[in-house]
Amino acid sequence: MSMNRSVKLKPNAADLLIVAAVLLLAALALFRFFPGGARDGAQSAVVSIDGKIVERLPLFQRAQRSYTANGYTLRVSVEDGGVRVAQSDCPTQDCVHTGVISRRGQSIVCLPARLTVTIEGAPDGYDLVVGQGVAE
């Protein structure tokens, strides 16, 4: 049993193909999951527990919420157009350390509580409208 003699130990031009592919994928992911990237007035923080959306908090309005999920309690705070986990009794504290997020596509994840906070932009359109508005 011996090493394959044909092993290439020096980086070559073909490797650049792989680097390019990874960069392309990163760019695609960036483009796909940060569509606008910028802050805009109609964003909301979508709070999910166990993959199910429990609440959409508009970012334009201050709010304090407490969520209890899988044995942990997290306090989520919306202020100044951003959202953060202000307090959590989870062991990792990663959610608290993430700090404030305010741009579309950003998210806070608390794995122990299986809770996520993701920022979504304004709903991109609708299929139907209810309410007739002022009668003509």
């Binding site: 049993m1 011996s2 090493m3 394959n4 044909s6 092993v7 290439k8 130990l9 020096k10 980086p11 070559n12 073909a14 490797d15 193909l17 792989i18 680097v19 592919a21 990874v22 960069l23 994928l25 990163a26 760019a27 992911a29 960036l30 796909r32 999951f33 940060f34 999910s48 166990d50 993959g51 199910k52 959306i53 990792t92 990663d94 959610c95 350390h97 993430t98 596509g105 950003q106 998210s107 806070i108 994840v109 794995l111 122990p112 299986r114 996520t116 906070v117 993701t118």
Partner: protein, 170 residues
């Protein structure tokens, strides 16, 4: 190499891989990517080495042992899915890239590192049940360029120095 020697070597490499996964837990990756369970993938050095030196089946065995024992030592079953998905994605992509024969060990390990991080994001997606972790994919892919180059470099240096030893007598 006799099968006994092969098994012993696999065990040593598995232990080394475990050490790497333990050491990389000290790297504060959580500052950039707050997804517990996501790792840099330094243990892939062992996977790259084993893949080239012992072949795919032994490398897979080492990977499996590393993932299972790692989860056991960490006492954390949810970390298992991260390391399994990350490790096996990396392994699969590296086997395929290596078959192409045109890429150097650097290209192969960069591809493996990228796949490793994609696999971990997939694990986070499955664990959480929503798309939130996808937001960390771009940064993790960029990180994989660095870790992939690093593992490639270490493996290349290793093979270069080993070229002076008569392999058949291990």
């Amino acid at each position: 190499m006799t099968s006994t020697r092969r098994i012993a070597l696999c065990a040593v490499l598995a232990a080394l891989a475990l050490t790497f996964s333990y050491l990389e837990s000290f790297f504060p990756l959580a500052l950039f990517v707050p997804l517990p369970g996501v790792k840099l993938g330094l243990a892939n050095i062992v996977t790259v080495f084993a893949l080239y030196f012992l072949g795919a089946s032994s490398a897979l065995a080492i990977l499996l042992v590393r993932c299972l024992l790692g989860a056991l030592f960490a006492g954390n079953a949810s970390a298992l899915i991260f390391s399994l998905l990350g490790g096996f994605s990396a392994m699969l992509v590296m086997i395929l890239l290596r078959r192409c024969r045109i890429f150097s060990i650097f290209g192969v390990s960069i591809g493996g590192a990228a796949a490793h991080n994609c696999g971990q994001i997939l694990a986070a997606l499955l664990t959480l049940g929503n798309a939130a972790p996808l937001a960390y994919l771009p940064v993790l892919l960029l990180v994989s360029l660095l870790t992939g180059s690093l593992t490639g470099l270490i493996a290349a240096l290793l093979f270069r120095s080993m070229a002076h030893f008569p392999m058949d007598h291990i």
